[in-house]
Structures are given as structure tokens and as C-alpha cells.
């Protein structure tokens, strides 16, 4: 299926190649570079590029293109999903997935790629299994390895692959048994000029960090499972039980994983936690424009709106801005025309605002479009949909685990049209 993989950095250098079948010359990437040139923006490179003898399927993550070479029919999503899984694995192993990190750990990367695919077909993609096979590099281990000459490759054989719960490594032991769950909800919304909601929906995930000894069997139940309109599970979740009882029952993988992602439909009314008052005008003839922006909280159930960041792509005609924020800092990049305002926390008593003027190109006609405003924010200890975990029970092991649950609401793709 997947013949080869090339990693291309932002400046167009191939810095890693791996072949699972016969070697494919790296000149095949020329077609990719061609397509890259045609696309104006990096994210506009088509994910699938046909060439006379091969097809190139690429994903862009962390400013690195992962270009897979395939030769015959294969579902494109299969390859795309796999490439993303590769990136996730790298991130899991090295903390970041950058060119430098990959180059520093090139041997581990190679060992990982070798295990993840066999003859181009995915073999082991579960991070628990991979970690059993190849230990992630840590500073301590690197030091120890240089002194003792021991290796990163796990001594024991990957028994996890044979297990009936392939996502969990065997023989897990902890002195502190803990299970933490983060319910994170993101609001995707488009707000129109007048402040009314065009579309809003909530996407939520439950990320877990489970460090439990042995083979625990967990059940997690919700107070209001009906809220969840559409869900997708980690393979460990027993689907039938969810169907029948709306309870999540699973033997968790060890460590961090995404248990569930869900969708709260736009049919339900979504509370929008912030509002924006804006007044952005360009006057015909003059080289000045006015810019006023005020943020305020609404429907936050008394919780503070934090880490607010406002970004906006201003029209090309804007040369510079002269703005004063009432709090936080703002920057304007005259090249990319990107305005970004780091607001911080919204104080309901004293609403943050950004006011001032914009300098327009002299002589040019006024831009006919108004910029969209993108907002990011966080609200701790609240799930905006109202989802609540009822209880978490553990079976199969005798000890008492420490359990914790955290809620958070974030802005997803939150846009205000002006």
C-alpha cells in the first residue's frame, strides 16, 4: 500500500526518506514541489497528487510535509489517517514533532516507522505497543544509555500485540494509581455582523490520563448522556454497552489517550460565552480607517473567561495601525497584515477594548471587505454543553485509585464577521 515516505521541511528539503518496498527515487517529490509552487498557501497543496507512475498523498503538520508514495488504488483516507497517526506518535515520543527533533532521533524514528508498517500495511500503530517495543528517549535514559551502553529497544518481546486488549501494555505497575479525565469542549461558531449566531456547535473530547496497575476495567457514566449527539470512541470502549446503557465501559490503555470525542448538535441552543462590539470603517478618499473593538462576557455561569486572544486578517490596503488596548498587548504585522491582540482575562467590570486608527495606502480605493475576527478563549471548570460525569467505577483490581475530572470550555473556530 504505502511504498515510501518522504519528509519535506518548509524550505523544500527532503530530510528523511523511508522505503517499505523497492526504493522509489526521491525525484518523485519533484511533482510535489511543482504542486507546492502552484498553491499559493502552504495549506492549499492538494492532499493527493497524481504523477505518471505513483500517487503522492501528503499531510502538513508542524510545518513538515509528510509525503507518502503509493502505487495503486488505496483509500486516500487510509493513508492520510495513517500519516497523522505517525505524526501523533512522533509527538508522543519526542514531545514535539519538528525537523530538529526528528533529525536528533533519526534512529528511533526509523525503528518506529519500521514497526508501524510492514510492506506498506499498518502493523502496530497503538502507542502502548510501540512503547513496549521501542522506549521513548528521555534525558535520563540517554545519559544512562551512553554510560551503560544499553539501548532504547525494549528487551522483552512485544507481547501486547498478542493480547486480546492490544491497546494496553502488559505488566503495568504504579505506586500511585490515578485516573484523570479532562472534558474539553470547543465551541465552533460563526457570528454575523449584528451579533446574531449563524451557526454554533459544540465539539467535545474526553482525554484521559490513566495510570493504573494491572488490568483495570473502568466504567464511566454521565448524568446527562442524551446530550451527546454523535460520538466516536477509542477502540477500547465497549460499544454495545454504550448502545444499551449509555455507559462507557472499557479497559483503558496505559497513559494518555483520547477516550471519546462527541458532538453536541447545532439543533440544541448553544450558549455563546463572549460577545464582541466592533466598529471597523474605512472612509472613501481618506487614508484613515477607524478600528474599535470591545469584548464582553455573556452566559458564562459566573466563570471567568481567560486566555483571550483576538486575531484578525486585515485587508491588504492597510499599511499600519495605531491602536491602544485597554489591557493586554497587541501586535500588527505589516507584511502579513495579521493583527493579534492578546487580551488575557476578561474583567466584567472593566471590559477590554482596542481602539484607534488604521493607515491605508494613499490613493488606493477603500477595501470593500471587512475583516473577520477570530477569537480564542478558555473557561475553566465548565463544560458549556452542561455535560457532567456521574461516576467512575473500577472493577478487576483491588486497590482504590485516585480519580479526578476536569472540565474546560475553549473556543474552537470562533469567528465574528464584521
Amino acid at each position: 500500500m504505502i511504498h515510501s515516505l518522504f519528509l519535506v521541511n518548509a524550505s523544500g528539503d527532503i530530510f528523511l526518506e523511508k522505503h517499505w518496498k523497492s526504493v522509489v527515487s526521491r525525484s518523485v517529490c519533484d511533482y510535489f514541489f511543482e504542486a507546492q509552487e502552484r498553491a499559493t498557501e502552504p495549506e492549499n497543496v492538494p492532499p493527493v497528487i497524481p504523477t505518471p507512475h505513483h500517487y503522492l498523498i501528503n499531510v502538513l503538520r508542524h510545518r513538515i510535509y509528510f509525503v507518502a508514495v503509493i502505487q495503486s488504488e488505496v483509500p486516500p483516507l487510509f493513508v492520510i489517517e495513517f500519516l497523522h497517526r505517525v505524526v501523533d506518535t512522533f509527538q508522543d515520543y519526542f514531545g514535539v514533532c519538528t525537523e530538529a527533533a526528528i533529525k536528533d532521533n533519526v534512529v528511533v524514528v526509523y525503528e518506529l516507522l519500521e514497526e508501524m508498517l510492514d510492506n506498506g500495511f499498518p502493523l502496530a500503530t497503538e502507542s502502548n505497543i510501540l512503547k513496549e517495543l521501542i522506549k521513548p528517549p528521555t534525558i535520563l535514559r540517554t545519559v544512562v544509555n551512553t554510560i551503560t551502553g544499553s539501548t532504547n529497544v525494549g528487551e522483552q518481546l512485544p507481547t501486547g500485540q498478542l493480547s486480546v486488549v492490544p491497546w494496553r501494555r502488559t505488566g503495568v505497575k504504579y505506586t500511585n494509581n490515578e485516573a484523570y479525565f479532562d472534558v474539553v469542549e470547543e465551541i465552533d461558531a460563526i457570528i454575523d455582523k449584528s451579533g446574531s449566531t449563524i451557526t454554533a456547535e459544540i465539539q467535545g473530547v474526553i482525554d484521559a490520563c490513566v495510570k493504573l496497575t494491572g488490568m483495570p476495567d473502568l466504567t464511566l457514566s454521565f448524568m446527562n448522556p442524551r446530550l451527546l449527539d454523535d460520538v466516536s470512541f477509542h477502540p477500547c470502549v465497549r460499544f454495545k454497552r454504550w448502545e444499551a446503557e449509555r455507559i462507557l465501559s472499557f479497559i483503558p490503555p496505559d497513559g494518555n489517550f483520547r477516550l471519546l470525542s462527541y458532538h453536541v448538535s447545532s439543533q440544541n441552543l448553544v450558549a455563546i460565552p463572549v460577545y464582541v462590539k466592533h466598529n471597523i470603517t474605512f472612509r472613501e478618499g481618506s487614508s484613515q480607517g477607524r478600528f474599535e473593538l470591545t469584548l464582553g462576557p455573556k452566559q458564562t455561569m459566573g466563570k471567568a473567561v481567560e486566555s483571550v486572544l483576538v486575531t484578525s486578517q486585515l485587508p491588504r490596503g492597510v499599511l499600519n495601525t495605531n491602536l491602544t488596548p485597554s489591557q493586554g498587548t497587541y501586535t500588527f504585522d505589516p507584511v502579513t497584515k495579521l493583527l493579534s491582540w492578546d487580551v488575557g482575562k476578561i474583567n466584567p467590570q472593566k471590559l477590554p477594548s482596542l481602539k484607534g486608527s488604521m493607515c491605508l495606502q494613499a490613493g488606493a480605493s477603500k477595501p470593500d471587505e471587512n475583516p473577520t475576527i477570530n477569537i480564542q478563549f478558555k473557561i475553566q471548570q465548565m463544560a458549556i454543553s452542561g455535560l457532567k460525569v456521574n461516576r467512575l467505577d473500577m472493577y478487576g483490581e483491588k486497590y482504590k485509585p485516585f480519580k479526578g475530572i476536569k472540565y474546560m470550555t475553549k473556543a474552537g473556530k470562533f469567528q465574528v464577521r464584521t
Binding site: 523511508k18 483516507l77 519500521e114 454523535d230 454495545k240 471587505e369
Partner: protein
């Protein structure tokens, strides 16, 4: 083989002998001396005795490979480390070997012997990895060795090794396609494998090697469907795609009857060919003669088993299921995929891109499906352009009379975007909406005309092109727009737009008689500087004007044609020559010039603005070919539906594991094949409870679906069941085999929950059976039990066989009543020895289990059931009623039991020996077993005069107790004593059919041998029983709450019994 043996001899010394020669091969060093030197020190390191040095060297070499540097000259030095003890060195050597073996075939052979040794290793993982590397070395000479290794590994005990064998098949096939026939044999063998680990890999091999051999799938079809949910995600994708193709060849089109009722004037989805096909089929196939369409149960099985995978986290799996539903499901059911696909849109932009492409194709055929999600396709300014354009496509496809105003309002915002490519796409989208929906045509046209004054030239140009197309539909009313556009020629520079305007003016010159010649004049001035398409249109305009208004334009036309005559572009020169001949009358001009007017001024049909995604669905959705809209290499065509269904019996499997597929059995099959849930190791009681419940979910799911399914409602399965007796012999046997298998399972796994559950399903079927078959009898029976106090004689008159063959459903009240009667009767000691408990009708829904199958029993079939009667001779024993049926043609003599093998404490009271059992007859006996309040099996031997059979009986926990009669107060008092550790409480949601009091009582009493305790509150049901051996009380309380919520409490001194009972009752109630 010969090659390998030769190298086997060499394996010890090869490294020391080979090394110096290869090491100093000057040719391999490369041109640069520095390079040569560096490799030299790597060689030294590889030759050293220290693993750390070797490792360091290997790491540097791998880094070179990763960067794409050539490291092939190090091959000899590296390959001799293939047997290194250090695992990491070894792995890196493998990496190197696989990379360069193809280039250095001879030297690569040195390593083969190591792998051959590995193939024989007792550790399965080492065997697997040896096979993996061996098969990855692309050296043609070792093909026979690989073939042998694959064959051997395909019958390996370890599923992991078999999986590796499946992976190796396509490798070998790509190396030597001539091995195909042999490889197909291996694939066939591996396809029959029943483990989830192998399934995905072998189907992948099947797809690469022999996708056309669909016949190999028949026998494994049902198994693959049932295993699917437990296969790893990548395997799921491959299997689902393959099954889609398979289903298209084997089943009938589920939409065959609706094909003409397609929505909104779109061309009918399954064209008229299918209609013809239907008729032909009606003639040809007797089974489907003009009948309404009935879905093949196997078709239904596939749809049902793939549906849960829409919830997968893996986008590829979701997409695979979506395309399966799109291609295979009845129209009414396709809708379920929309939600999942919309969910994928949240993912990475590459995923979005692919999903949107597929959604765009789907929206053309099935618009209604995505309409509720319209807003999810709204465009954000941060989306990449390619995503925006696709979303626009989807929005356009979704537009109809009701939502067009919202969509147009959205489009208005988009037109203001900074992304000009996107604006251009939006304008085209507006054009398409306008052509498709007549009501908004004028609005759109006006909007587009306004755009003509936009400052951005691209926007204007695109609008012109779209307006041109729209005007063609009704030019009469819009001469002012044409005038307006004529003025634009002064400003617009975009060639396509200029060409469009010129064409419009030419085409409708009679609407603008004054302006047209002027435009031509201006154009003639700039002719030489125009782009080619514009030049062509100028010539066109000139020609048309010449024909309509030759007085004013004759000279201009001549001028233009003269200019064109000397143009650099041959197209333009040709066109000029051709037109001149046609329109300018000369002496030589042919007959054609008479028709010039007709030729040029013919009425032209309005263009149809079509989606580029139209008709893309002849490619399998989700495939690479669909995405590119061209056939990719190795693409397997999605076949059209057959006109008449091929024989469905090809999927029947004779082997006991896979029985003939009635809907009821399918459900069981599903349960039986549950590798993940059923044998997870080291799980204790509560875990199993969770598992069994998840399984029960599966049953309930299939139950609920059966309502909508065509032929799977409970009553029908029951009637099928009852007919089965009269059906062919073979079928009956299958049925029995099935039972036997089910019986065996609990023995193997030793998990009580499993057996319980099967018992449950069994009871279900037996209930329905009795309903359909023996209704009258059950009625009489219930009367009998009621009457029995008065007319005790009747009891002994009951015909035994009747009750054996047809377990009778009695209402729970009767159950409790009859139980009490029995106790009463016993107290009265009216029973003599002959009157053993079985003679009283077995009450409640009694499930029979198979003890000995008639095949294994060589004609002797033995079944048993728990009659729930006190066992006369010893009250601490559970009565087990055993029925022998002699299916042979000769007598069976001296039926008795021997050598019970029991756990400590367990006791068995043997049944009296049956001296003769004539052929075709049945006999029933009762034995007592003291299970010591545990669910351990009792094993013993059944002996006839010739044979001995090992058998075992395992009781469900509910049978280990007997009813006790308590008053409400007593109950409360006893419950008070059994608090804390002895109390187990579970919340549950009652099953749909189990909401009345009556139903609850029935379910509980059928799950456990307990009796009801009177109770004041109507929201509570209480039951009491005691364990047979130790007499510990078992108290069950079910409290119903609003909706379907309920709470189950079990109080029992024996916690194990309590836990298991909770689990069983829970399962009974939630179904």
C-alpha cells in the same frame, strides 16, 4: 532450498572469511577519500567485539540511509552482524538488510540461514519477525524458501505468526507473480482462520493477489461480518471495502422498487436499465417473482455489523462504512452516515478535503441526507481555499427552493472575501443555483450585475462569464444588461471575460443594434494585442454582424479578417479563411455560403451548469480513483447489481462452527465469536459482568433492529424454528450442532456469564417456539396446574414426552403457584417414588441444554434441563431432568452413568438405569446434583452397553436456588440482616418489552428460581429464594422508577452468588 543449505554450511565462518576481501574493495569506497575513510572507521566499529561500538556504527549507518545517502558499500560488514545478540543492533541490521538486499543479492543470501533458524524458534514472536524480514528481502533466488516458510507459517499455532504469513503473501507475489496459484491456496486457508488478528491481513493479501476470486469469500462471508468489529482498524477498512464489492455481486439492489421515485427531477439513480432488469428477473427467477423486494439476511447482516463502526475514531473506517451504506443500503437507511461524515469535517484539513469530495458526490444523488447539516458546511475565512471551494460545491448541491435564500445570504458574505479564487468559485456557485432554481434566477442575475462594478477584475470577469450563461436562457428580457456589459469591454482585461462579452454581443446583436458595430470597431483597433480566445470571438462577432448588418460592418469585417489571415496562431488563420469563404460572396463560393446565416445565427441551446461531481459515483466512493476521477492502477470496479440474486446457499457452511443462517442463529454466532470480550485473561467476576452486559447489548440491539428488518421479528424467527422440524434433515443437524457448540463453549472458557447469556437466548427462542406451536397445550397446562390441588390424579396422567419436546411457557404467577403447589404436595407426601418431581409439569420457561449430540453420541441424543422441582431423595440437590432419544436403528441398552468427577463437596444422585431404549423412542429420567452452591460443572460418564461418553453439566446461578415463601415483614427483616457487603445494588434501564410489572416478574423468575413476595408498593417487586445446598437466603428487589429506569438489589450472604445473580437478572431485564 539448495542455495540455503549451501549457506547453512557456511554460516559459522562466513564472517571471518568474507570480511577482509569485501572490506578493502576499493571500488565500493566511492570517489571521495573522506567518504571512504569514514566508512572505513564504521567498518572497524562493526568488526569490533563491543556491542556499543557496533550499535554506534549501525546508528550512523541508519542515519545515512534516512538522509538518502548511499551506504551500500558497507553491506558485507553489516550483514555479518545479523546474528548479533544485541536486539537493537539486530533490528538496525534488519533495517539495513531490507534496504540494500535488492542491490546486493548474493551477499544478502549470507543472512538467510539466520532467518531460517529463526523460523523454527519456539518463541512465536521470533518466528514472526524472522518471517517478516525474510519475506522483505527482495531476492528472487529465495522465492522457494519464502514460499515454504509462508506455507509453514500459515498453519502455525500462533495467530500472530499466521498474520505475518498473510503479510508476507503480497510481498512474495510482487517478487514473483508466477507463484499466484500457490499463494491463493495459502490465502484460502488463511481466510478460513477464525481469529481477528489474521482477518484484516489476509483480506489485504486477497485484495492484492486475487481480488477477482470472489468465490473464496462465500464461505467466510458471515464470519468476516461477525468478526469485523473486533478486527484492528486498518483491517476493518480493507475488509469493508472488499465486502462492498462482494455484496454488489451477490445481493439484489435494495432500491429496485424505488428507483423511479427519485427526488427532484434528477435522473433516476438506478437508471432504466434496472427496470428492465427487474422484468427480466421476474421472468427468470422464480423466487422473486414480482414479489416486493426482500433483503437477503446476509445483506442485512453486513449492514447491521458495519453500522457501529461509524463511531470509530479512525476516519478511514468511518469513510469505508459510509461508502458501504451509500452503495448497498436501502435508501431509507443511508441517512445514518451523514452525521458521522459531518463529524469527520472537524478533523485535519486533509481529511476534510477527502470527506468533502465524497460528500459532494453523495449530495448529488441523496440531497436530503445532508440537508439538516447545511450549516456545518458554512465557510470560515480561515479555511484553506481548496476546502472552501469544496464546501461551496456541497452548499450548491444542497440548495433548493426552501433554503436558497439562506444560502444566497451566505454567498453574499463570501463574495466580500479577500480570497479571490474563492470569490470566483462563489460566483459560479451562484450561477448554478440560478439555473437550478428558477425562482431566484432574477435575483441572482441582479446580484451578479451589481458585481460588474466591483473593483476587482477577477470578480467582474467571473461574473461576466456566469451572466453570459444565464442570459442565454432568456436573452429577450435583458438587453440592458447586454448593453451594460458592452461598456465593460473598455475596462476588462481578463481574456475569458472579454471573449464572453463579445460572444454575447454577437449572439444577441439584434437586441443592441447600435452598440454592436461600435464594439467591433474598438476591437478591430486592438485586435493584434488580444489573446487568442478573444481574437476568435472578434472574428465570430464580425461574421455575425456582417450577416445581419453588412452595411455598417462590411469594411470592418474585411479588416479584421485580413488581420487574422496573418496571425501567428494557425487556429485563427484557419478560422479567418473559413469564415471569409463562408460569408463573403465570391464567384467560387460554394453552396454552403447560402446557409451562412443559418450556420451562425442558429438558436443555441442554453448551457447546463453541472456539478463536476456528477456521475462520479460510478467509482467506489472513498477510493483514490473517485478522488482523482480517473481510474487508478489496481482499482477494482464496483460491479452493478445482479439482475437476479446468485444462490445464497453458497455462503452456508457445513462445518459445525458456522451453521445455516436463520436470523436467530446469526445472533448467536455473533456472540460466539467474541474473542476480545470472551477470553480476556485474568478478569475476575465483576469484569465479566461488564462483558456479558456488553454482549447482551448486542442481542438487544439486534432485537430492536429486527423490528425494521424485513424478516427478523421475533415471531417469525419462532415460526421458522417450528418449521425446521419438517425441513430437511441436514438443517436439523446443523441446528443441533449449533446447540452443541454453544454447550461446549462455557466448558471451555469456564465463564459463567457466557453460559447464562446463551441460556437466555435459548429461552427466548424456546418461548417463541412454544407460542407458535403449542399454544393450546400451554393453556391446558396452566389450567391443569391451577386445578391440580383438587385433581391430583391428573398429574400422573400427564404425558411426559409432551412436556419434554415442548417446553411450555407459563405465566410467572403460575410459576410461583405451581412451585408452591409442589412444595405443598410434597408436604402432603402424596408422592410415591414413582412420582418423582419431573412428572409435574416443568414450570416457567424451561431451557434445555444439550448434553450429548447425536453425532458424537452415535445416534444417542441427550438433553437436559433444570426442572426447578425439589429433588425428592435429597432436598440439597438440584434436580436435573435428562432426556435420552435413540436415533439409531437398534436398541440401546443399559443406559447408566459412571465415574462422576466432582469437585470436593459436590455430590451426584445417579438416575436409575434405563435397561432398554428402543429405536426412535425417548426416555426421561431425573438425577440430583448437589453443586455446593457453585457454578462449577459436574462431569461424569454416560454409558450404554457398548460406549462411554464424557459429559458435563453446568448450572446457571439462578438454578442453584429454590423458592422460599416470606411475608412482606419477614422479607424486610431478613433484608435488614443482609446489608453492607451482602447487598448489591445496580441501576438499570429496563428493556423495551419489559416495562410492566408482569414482564419484570416473568423475567426475574425465569432467570432465577425464586418466588414472588407480596408487596404493598406497586413500584416494587420482591422475590425470595434460598440456595439449595446451604439454604442461604437470596432476596431480590426490583424498584421501578420514572421512564424506564429501575434499580435492582440483591441481598445474599453468599456474595459470589449475589454478584452473579445480579448480572443475570440485569441482563434479563435490560433486554
Amino acid at each position: 532450498m539448495s542455495a540455503s543449505s549451501a549457506f547453512n554450511d557456511e554460516k559459522g565462518g562466513s564472517s571471518s572469511v568474507g570480511e577482509p576481501e569485501y572490506g578493502h574493495d576499493p571500488a565500493s569506497g566511492g570517489i571521495f577519500s573522506s567518504d571512504y575513510k569514514r566508512h572505513d572507521d564504521l567498518k572497524e566499529m562493526l568488526d569490533s567485539n563491543k556491542d556499543s561500538l557496533k550499535l554506534e556504527a549501525m546508528k550512523r549507518i541508519v542515519a545515512m540511509i534516512a538522509r538518502g545517502k548511499n551506504a551500500s558499500d558497507l553491506f558485507p560488514a553489516v550483514v555479518k552482524n545479523v546474528a548479533c545478540k544485541n536486539i537493537e543492533v539486530k533490528k538496525l541490521v534488519y533495517v539495513y538488510l531490507v534496504r540494500y538486499a535488492e542491490e546486493q543479492q548474493d551477499l544478502a543470501l549470507l543472512s538467510i540461514s539466520t532467518f531460517q533458524r529463526g523460523l523454527k524458534d519456539p518463541n512465536q514472536l521470533i518466528r514472526a519477525s524472522a518471517l517478516r524480514v525474510l519475506s522483505s528481502i527482495r531476492v528472487t533466488i529465495i522465492v522457494p524458501i519464502m514460499m515454504l516458510a509462508i506455507k509453514e507459517a500459515a498453519s502455525d499455532m500462533s495467530p500472530y505468526v499466521r498474520k505475518t504469513a498473510a503479510h508476507a503473501i503480497p510481498k512474495l507475489y510482487s517478487l514473483d507473480p508466477e507463484q499466484k496459484d500457490q499463494l491463493i491456496e495459502v490465502i484460502e486457508k488463511l481466510l478460513a482462520d477464525k481469529t481477528t488478528l489474521v482477518a484484516g491481513s489476509v483480506v489485504m493479501a486477497f485484495e492484492e493477489v486475487c481480488p477477482e476470486r470472489i468465490d473464496l469469500i462465500h464461505k467466510n462471508y458471515r464470519k468476516l461480518c461477525n468478526l469485523l468489529i473486533d478486527v484492528e482498524e486498518w483491517g476493518q477498512v480493507v475488509i469493508i471495502n472488499m465486502l462492498t464489492r462482494y455484496a454488489r455481486t451477490q445481493f439484489l439492489n435494495p432500491n429496485i422498487n424505488e428507483s423511479l421515485l427519485e427526488e427532484s427531477g434528477e435522473k433516476a439513480f438506478y437508471g432504466s436499465d434496472d427496470e428492465e432488469g427487474k422484468e427480466e428477473k421476474a421472468d427468470a427467477a422464480a423466487l422473486a417473482k414480482r414479489k416486493p423486494y426482500v433483503m437477503d439476511p446476509d445483506h442485512r447482516l453486513l449492514l447491521r455489523n458495519t453500522k457501529p463502526l461509524l463511531q470509530s475514531r479512525n476516519a478511514a473506517v468511518v469513510m469505508a462504512v459510509a461508502q458501504l451504506y451509500f452503495h448497498l443500503a436501502p435508501k431509507a437507511e443511508v441517512g445514518v452516515i451523514a452525521k458521522a461524515l459531518v463529524r469527520l469535517m472537524r478533523s485535519h484539513s486533509e481529511v476534510q478535503y477527502v470527506v468533502l469530495q465524497n460528500v459532494a458526490t453523495m449530495t448529488i444523488k441523496r440531497r436530503g441526507m445532508f440537508e439538516p447539516y447545511l450549516k456545518s458546511f458554512y465557510i470560515r475565512s480561515t479555511d484553506p481555499t481548496q476546502i472552501k471551494v469544496l464546501k461551496l460545491e456541497v452548499l450548491t448541491n444542497l440548495a433548493n427552493e426552501t433554503n436558497i435564500s439562506t444560502i444566497l445570504r451566505e454567498f453574499q458574505t463570501y463574495i466580500k472575501s479577500m480570497d479571490k479564487d474563492f470569490v470566483a468559485a462563489t460566483i459560479q456557485a451562484i450561477g448554478r443555483c440560478a439555473t437550478n432554481i428558477g425562482e431566484v434566477r432574477d435575483t441572482c442575475l441582479n446580484g451578479l450585475v451589481q458585481l460588474l462594478s466591483n473593483r476587482d477584475e477577477l470578480v467582474v470577469a467571473e461574473s461576466v462569464v456566469v451572466i453570459k450563461k444565464l442570459l442565454q436562457m432568456q436573452p429577450e428580457q435583458h438587453s440592458d444588461i447586454i448593453k451594460h456589459m458592452a461598456k465593460l469591454t473598455d475596462n476588462i482585461q481578463v481574456p475569458m471575460a472579454r471573449a464572453s462579452i463579445l460572444w454575447l454581443i454577437g449572439e444577441y446583436c439584434e437586441h443592441v443594434p447600435k452598440i454592436a458595430p461600435d464594439v467591433l470597431r474598438k476591437m478591430a483597433k486592438t485586435f493584434t494585442n488580444e489573446e487568442d480566445i478573444v481574437k476568435l470571438q472578434i472574428i465570430n462577432l464580425a461574421a455575425k454582424l456582417y450577416l445581419t448588418n453588412s452595411k455598417q460592418t462590411k469594411l470592418l469585417t474585411q479588416y479584421v479578417l485580413n488581420l487574422a489571415k496573418y496571425d501567428q496562431n494557425y487556429d485563427i488563420r484557419d478560422r479567418a479563411r473559413f469564415i471569409r469563404q463562408l460569408i463573403v460572396p465570391t464567384d467560387k463560393s460554394g453552396a454552403l455560403s447560402k446557409y451562412a446565416k443559418k450556420l451562425f445565427l442558429a438558436l443555441k441551446p442554453a448551457p447546463v451548469l453541472e456539478s463536476p461531481f456528477k456521475d462520479r459515483d460510478h467509482f467506489q466512493l472513498g477510493s483514490l480513483s473517485h478522488l482523482l476521477n480517473t481510474k487508478a492502477g489496481g482499482y477494482q470496479e464496483l460491479p452493478d447489481w445482479p439482475e437476479s440474486a446468485p444462490d445464497p446457499s453458497v455462503r452456508n457452511v457445513e462445518v459445525p462452527e458456522w451453521t445455516k443462517c436463520t436470523s436467530r442463529e446469526k445472533r448467536k454466532d455473533k456472540k460466539v465469536e467474541k474473542p476480545f470480550y470472551s477470553d480476556s485473561e485474568g478478569e475476575s467476576g465483576p469484569t465479566e459482568s461488564a462483558d456479558s452486559e456488553s454482549d447482551s447489548g448486542s442481542a438487544s440491539e439486534s432485537g430492536s433492529e429486527s423490528g425494521s428488518g424485513s424478516e427478523e421479528s421475533g415471531s417469525e424467527s419462532g415460526s421458522e424454528e417450528s418449521e425446521e422440524d419438517s425441513e430437511s434433515e441436514e438443517e436439523e443437524r446443523d441446528e443441533e450442532e449449533e446447540k452443541k457448540k454453544r454447550k461446549k463453549r462455557p466448558e471451555r472458557s469456564g465463564s459463567e456469564s457466557e453460559s447464562e447469556e446463551e441460556e437466555e437466548s435459548e429461552s427466548e427462542s424456546s418461548e417463541s417456539e412454544s407460542e407458535s406451536e403449542e399454544e393450546s397445550e400451554s393453556e391446558t397446562d396452566s389450567k391443569k396446574t391451577k386445578k391440580s390441588k383438587k385433581e391430583k390424579k391428573e398429574i400422573s396422567l400427564l404425558d411426559l414426552d409432551d412436556f419434554e419436546t415442548t417446553p411450555i411457557e407459563v405465566t410467572p404467577v403460575n410459576n410461583f403457584l405451581s412451585n408452591s403447589l409442589v412444595t405443598d404436595l410434597e408436604g402432603l407426601s402424596l408422592t410415591d417414588t414413582v412420582m418423582n418431581p419431573t412428572t409435574i409439569a416443568p414450570s416457567g420457561a424451561v431451557k434445555t441444554y444439550e448434553l450429548l449430540h447425536r453425532i458424537t453420541g452415535e445416534g444417542l441424543a441427550v438433553e437436559y434441563c433444570f426442572s426447578r422441582q425439589p429433588f425428592g431423595p435429597d432436598p440439597h440437590m438440584v434436580a436435573v431432568q435428562i432426556q435420552f432419544t435413540n436415533n439409531t436403528s437398534s436398541e440401546t441398552k443399559n443406559l447408566h452413568m459412571e465415574e462422576p468427577k466432582l469437585l470436593s463437596g459436590m455430590r451426584i444422585k445417579e438416575f436409575p438405569e434405563i435397561e432398554v431404549l428402543p429405536p426412535g423412542e425417548s426416555a426421561t429420567v431425573v438425577m440430583g446434583i448437589d453443586f455446593c452452591d457453585s457454578t462449577q460443572a459436574a462431569n461424569f460418564q454416560l454409558c450404554t452397553h457398548t460406549k462411554k461418553f464424557f459429559v458435563s453439566i453446568q448450572p446457571p446461578v439462578g438454578e442453584l436456588m429454590m423458592p422460599v415463601f416470606l411475608t412482606e415483614n419477614e422479607f424486610k427483616k431478613e433484608q435488614g440482616k443482609l446489608m453492607g457487603m451482602n447487598e448489591i445494588t445496580e441501576k438499570l434501564t429496563l428493556g423495551e418489552k419489559c416495562q410492566s410489572d408482569h414482564a419484570i416478574v416473568q423475567r426475574v423468575t425465569s432467570a432465577a428460581n425464586v418466588s414472588r413476595v407480596p408487596c404493598g408498593s406497586d413500584k416494587e417487586c420482591r422475590f425470595a429464594g434460598k440456595t439449595v445446598t446451604s439454604g442461604s437466603l437470596v432476596l431480590v428487589t426490583v424498584v421501578t422508577k420514572e421512564e424506564r429506569a429501575a434499580q435492582l438489589t440483591v441481598n445474599c450472604e453468599k456474595m459470589v452468588i449475589g454478584t452473579m445473580l445480579v448480572k443475570d437478572i440485569l441482563q434479563a431485564l435490560t433486554q
